[in-house]
C-alpha cells in the first residue's frame, strides 16, 4: 500500500539562512569509526561548493545512544563536552538525521536544569542542520549528473522524517540527477528496525523489521540503496550481506551507500571509498 508522503510531523517548516562562508562539520561517532567515507564525501561536497569546512578535532558523540537508552546523566556528560566546539556563529552540519535530531531537539531537554549550558545548547541547536537538508536548501546543490543511467532506491531515516522534517530532501536531491531513476519501495515510511540498542536488546523484532525492509528495497529492482543515515545504512547493508553470505552469493544483492557518497560520485567528484 502507499503511505502518504506528507508527514504530519511537528517541525515541517524551517527558515534557511543564506549560504555561509564556513560551516562546522559534526561527523558523528558512528561515521567516524564505521563509515568515514560518508563523512569525508560530505565534506568534499561542501568544499567543492566553496564552503570552508571546520572539523573540530575534539568532537566525539552527541550523547544520543545513552539518552535514548534511558541514561540521561551519561548523555549529558558527553554532550556537555561538545558544547564549546562551535564558538563561531557558523552552521553545524551533521551527516545523520538522528544525531542532528539529538542536537536540535533533545540537547535542550538534557540541559533544562543548567541555564548556562541550556542557552549554549539551544543556540547550537538553532544552527544545526542535517547534511542533505543543508546541501539542498542552504547550498542549493545543483550539479550535472555525469554517471551512467541507473535506478536506485532511497531509505529515509525515521529521525530525518519525523524529527528533522527532512523526509523529502533525499528525493529532491536525487531528482536533480538526470540519469538517476528513483524506485520507491513498499512501506517506505516504515522503520528499518535499527533503533540503536533496540537491535541488540530485541534481535527478534529488529531482524524481522530489517528483513522486511531489505526485501522491499530489493523488490524495486534498484541497483543500490542510498540513505542519509549511517545507522540505517549499516543495518540494511549488513543484513543484506548476511543474506548473501547465507545464500552463497558473491555479488552483493543490495549494495548501499550514503547519499553524500552517491551524489559526489555522480557529479564528477572523487569519492573517498575505503570500504
Amino acid at each position: 500500500m502507499s503511505v502518504p508522503l506528507v508527514s504530519a510531523g511537528e517541525h515541517p517548516v524551517r527558515a534557511y539562512p543564506p549560504r555561509p562562508q564556513a560551516v562546522y562539520f559534526y561527523g558523528t561517532c558512528l561515521v567516524d569509526l564505521f563509515v568515514p567515507e560518508a563523512g569525508m564525501d560530505a565534506i568534499t561536497l561542501l568544499e567543492r561548493e566553496g564552503i570552508r569546512v571546520i572539523f573540530p578535532d575534539n568532537q566525539t558523540c552527541c550523547g544520543q545512544p545513552a539518552f535514548s537508552s534511558g541514561f540521561p546523566d551519561e548523555a549529558r556528560q558527553v554532550a556537555a563536552s561538545q558544547l564549546d566546539l562551535f564558538p563561531e556563529d557558523y552552521p553545524v552540519v551533521v551527516p545523520s538525521g538522528s544525531c542532528g535530531g539529538m542536537i536540535r531537539w533533545h540537547w535542550e531537554k538534557i540541559f533544562a536544569d543548567d541555564p548556562a549550558r541550556y542557552a549554549q545548547a539551544k543556540a547550537i541547536a538553532e544552527r544545526t542542520y542535517e547534511f542533505a537538508e543543508f546541501l539542498l536548501h542552504v547550498v542549493g546543490f545543483n550539479r550535472p549528473d555525469q554517471g551512467e543511467p541507473t535506478t536506485v532506491t532511497l531509505h529515509t531515516s525515521c529521525s530525518a522524517r519525523r524529527e528533522m522534517g527532512t523526509h523529502l530532501v533525499g528525493r529532491e536531491l536525487l531528482a536533480k540527477l538526470g540519469n538517476v531513476t528513483l524506485a520507491h519501495h513498499g512501506h517506505e515510511s516504515e522503520c528499518c528496525g535499527f533503533g540503536g540498542t533496540f537491535s541488540l536488546k530485541h534481535p527478534d523484532v529488529s531482524t524481522a523489521m530489517v528483513t522486511d525492509k531489505v526485501a522491499a528495497l530489493k523488490a524495486t529492482g534498484a541497483s543500490e540503496v542510498v540513505t542519509a543515515d549511517c545507522g540505517c545504512l549499516l543495518n540494511i547493508t549488513k543484513r543484506a550481506a548476511k543474506e548473501d553470505l547465507d545464500a552463497g552469493r558473491v555479488k552483493a544483492s543490495l549494495p548501499g551507500e550514503h547519499l553524500a557518497t552517491f551524489l559526489l560520485r555522480r557529479t564528477g567528484g572523487q569519492a573517498s571509498g575505503s570500504n
Binding site: 568515514p36 558523540c61 534511558g70 541514561f71 556528560q77 533503533g195 533496540f198
Partner: protein
C-alpha cells in the same frame, strides 16, 4: 479525587493484575515473530487501517489544526481534572446516576459485585470496555457465580475462545474467518460450520439478542464523560452498546478517571478525530449520550444507572507533569495500527491489557515497573505512533523517560511504582564507562584509534547484531584521520 464510598469500604487492596512477567515478554515476542500466519494477518489488517485513516485526512492542514485542538482540549481537561471529577459527580448525582470511586481493580469489581448482588443478577451483558478488561471484570464476576457476556462481536469471539483482546478497537483482529467459523461450530450450540461472514454475524446476533432480554445488568465503557452536563458518551458501531445501556434494568458504566471533559462542545472535535483515527470512519454508526436512568414518565431505559470511576495508577501518572500526558489518550488505537513492532508481534505478545505504543506508556503506571520494565525498550523510537496520535501524546519521549525510570538505580522517592526494576549494575557501569571515554576527547581518540588499528581483532559475534547481520568492523582510517590527510 478518591472519595471513599460505602461500597469501597470493604474492598481489599489487591496488587495490580499481572498478565505477563517482564522476562516472559521475550518468549512471547519470539513466538509471535515466528508465527507467519500472525505476521501476515496483522500486516494486512494494519495496512488496511492505515489506508482508511489516511483517506479520512485528505487535507493535512485540517488534520494539523484538529490535532492541536484535540490536544488542547485533553490538556485543558486534565489541568482541571480534580475539579471536573467533582463537577461530574455532582451533575451525574443530580441526574440520578450513582457515582462510585475505585482506587484499584479489586475495589472496582467489589463495587460492581455489590450492585449485582443487590439485584440478584445472574447475567451481566457487556458492551465493549477496555477498563473492564483492565480489571478482569469477567473473571471477578464468574468467580462469584455471575455470568458476564461480551456483546461486542469481536469481544464475543475473544471470550468464546478464552482469549484476551489483541487490539483495543478490534479485539479479534488476530483471528481469521475460518478460525471464527470453527470456534462458533464448536462452542455455540446447534451451529454448523460456516465461514460466511454475514452468516457468522447473524449467529452472534441471535445468541446475543436473547441475552439482552435475560440480563439483569448491562455494562458499558465510556468514551467521554461531560462534567458540566453529567453526560456519558459512548461511541460504537454495532448497536450492542445501546442495547446494553437501555434494555437491562440496571446499567453500570465504568471508566478511568481521565476520560472527563468539561463541556459538551469539547466532545465534538474529540469524537471526530477518534473515529477517523481509529477505524477511518467519518462518524461511528452509534453515538450514545447517557444522562441518567429512565424518568417517571418515560417508557424505556434502565431504572438504575451507576458510574464507576477507576484510578488504578492514573493518579500516580497525573502527579508527574510529563507522565500526565499519557492520560490524554482517547483510546483510538492509531498508534498500534502504525507501529512496526505491533504489526509484527500482534497484541497478545505484550501481555498487557493495552498493547502497542500506548500500552507501553500506560501499563507501567497501572501494573508497576516490576512487570513492565522491558516494555518501553520494545521500540525503535521511530516516532510513527507520536506522528499519528490524535491528541499528540509524545509517545517516543515518554518511552525514553520510562526507560530511564526503569533502568536507573532505585530512588528513595520514586515517581512511579517499581522504579529501578530494570536496574542492572553491569549495564549501568558500561554506560558510565562509555560516558567517561566519550566525554573526554583525548580518551575517545585513543579508544577509536585502538579500535581502528586493531580492527582485525573485532569480535565476529556481536550480541543481537550478528543474529541477522554481518559484523560491524571499524574502518581502517577514522574520519578524523581522513580529514587530517586531506589536501
Amino acid at each position: 479525587m478518591n472519595a471513599p464510598t460505602p461500597h469501597t469500604a470493604h474492598a481489599t487492596r489487591g496488587k495490580p493484575i499481572a498478565f505477563v512477567s517482564a522476562e516472559a515478554l521475550r518468549e512471547r515476542v519470539h513466538e509471535a515473530i515466528n508465527d507467519d500466519h500472525l505476521r501476515s494477518s496483522f500486516r494486512g489488517a494494519m495496512d488496511f487501517l492505515m489506508a482508511k485513516r489516511a483517506a479520512q485526512f485528505p487535507d493535512e492542514s485540517e488534520l494539523v489544526s484538529l490535532r492541536s485542538l484535540s490536544e488542547a482540549i485533553r490538556q485543558y481537561s486534565l489541568s482541571k481534572l480534580p475539579d471536573l471529577l467533582e463537577q461530574l459527580e455532582a451533575n451525574l448525582t443530580r441526574n440520578g446516576v450513582h457515582v462510585h470511586w475505585a482506587e484499584t481493580p479489586d475495589e472496582a469489581n467489589a463495587i460492581m459485585l455489590d450492585i449485582a448482588r443487590r439485584h440478584q443478577a445472574k447475567l451481566i451483558v457487556k458492551g465493549k470496555s477496555m477498563v473492564s478488561e483492565e480489571i478482569e471484570f469477567n473473571h471477578a464476576m464468574e468467580a462469584a457465580g455471575i455470568g458476564a457476556l461480551e456483546s461486542d462481536m469481536g469481544e464475543y469471539i475473544v471470550q468464546l475462545a478464552g482469549e484476551k483482546p489483541s487490539h483495543i478497537i478490534m479485539p479479534a483482529i488476530h483471528k481469521t474467518k475460518e478460525q471464527i467459523a470453527r470456534l462458533f461450530a464448536e462452542k455455540v450450540p446447534g451451529v454448523d460450520y460456516t465461514d460466511n461472514v454475514d452468516a457468522l454475524i447473524q449467529i452472534g446476533r441471535q445468541v446475543l439478542r436473547e441475552k439482552f432480554e435475560q440480563a439483569e445488568i448491562g455494562l458499558s465503557g465510556v468514551n467521554f464523560a461531560v462534567a458540566e452536563t453529567g453526560t456519558l458518551c459512548l461511541v460504537e458501531n454495532e448497536g450492542n452498546g445501546r442495547m446494553c445501556t437501555t434494555v437491562p434494568k440496571v446499567h453500570i458504566a465504568i471508566t478511568g478517571i481521565e476520560k472527563v471533559v468539561e463541556k459538551l462542545e469539547h466532545v465534538a472535535p474529540l469524537y471526530s478525530i477518534l473515529t477517523r483515527s481509529a477505524t477511518g470512519q467519518a462518524v461511528s454508526t452509534y453515538f450514545n449520550l447517557i444522562s441518567g436512568p429512565r424518568k417517571a414518565d418515560e417508557k424505556d431505559g434502565p431504572q438504575e444507572v451507576h458510574l464507576v470511576l477507576l484510578d488504578n495508577g492514573r493518579s500516580q501518572a497525573y502527579a508527574d507533569e510529563q507522565l500526565r500526558k499519557t492520560l490524554q489518550c482517547i483510546r483510538c488505537g492509531a498508534c498500534m495500527n502504525h507501529c512496526p513492532v505491533y504489526t509484527r508481534i500482534g497484541g497478545h505478545a505484550y501481555g498487557t491489557t493495552y498493547p502497542g505504543p500506548i500500552g507501553k506508556i500506560v501499563s507501567p503506571h497501572m501494573m508497576g515497573l516490576e512487570q513492565t520494565h522491558l516494555l518501553p525498550t520494545l521500540s525503535t523510537l521511530c516516532g510513527a505512533c507520536g506522528e499519528v496520535c490524535p491528541v499528540k501524546i509524545p509517545i517516543p519521549e515518554l518511552l525514553v523517560r520510562l526507560r530511564g525510570e526503569a533502568q536507573s538505580a532505585p530512588h528513595p522517592h520514586p515517581a512511579m511504582v517499581g522504579q529501578g526494576a530494570g536496574y542492572r549494575p553491569l549495564v549501568s557501569f558500561v554506560w558510565r564507562l562509555w560516558a567517561r571515554i566519550y566525554a573526554q576527547p583525548g580518551a575517545y581518540r585513543a579508544f577509536t584509534w585502538l579500535a581502528s588499528r586493531f580492527r582485525a581483532l573485532t569480535p565476529s559475534r556481536q550480541s543481537g547484531w550478528t543474529v541477522a547481520r554481518t559484523p560491524l568492523k571499524p574502518a581502517p582510517k577514522r574520519l578524523r584521520d581522513m580529514v587530517r590527510e586531506r589536501v
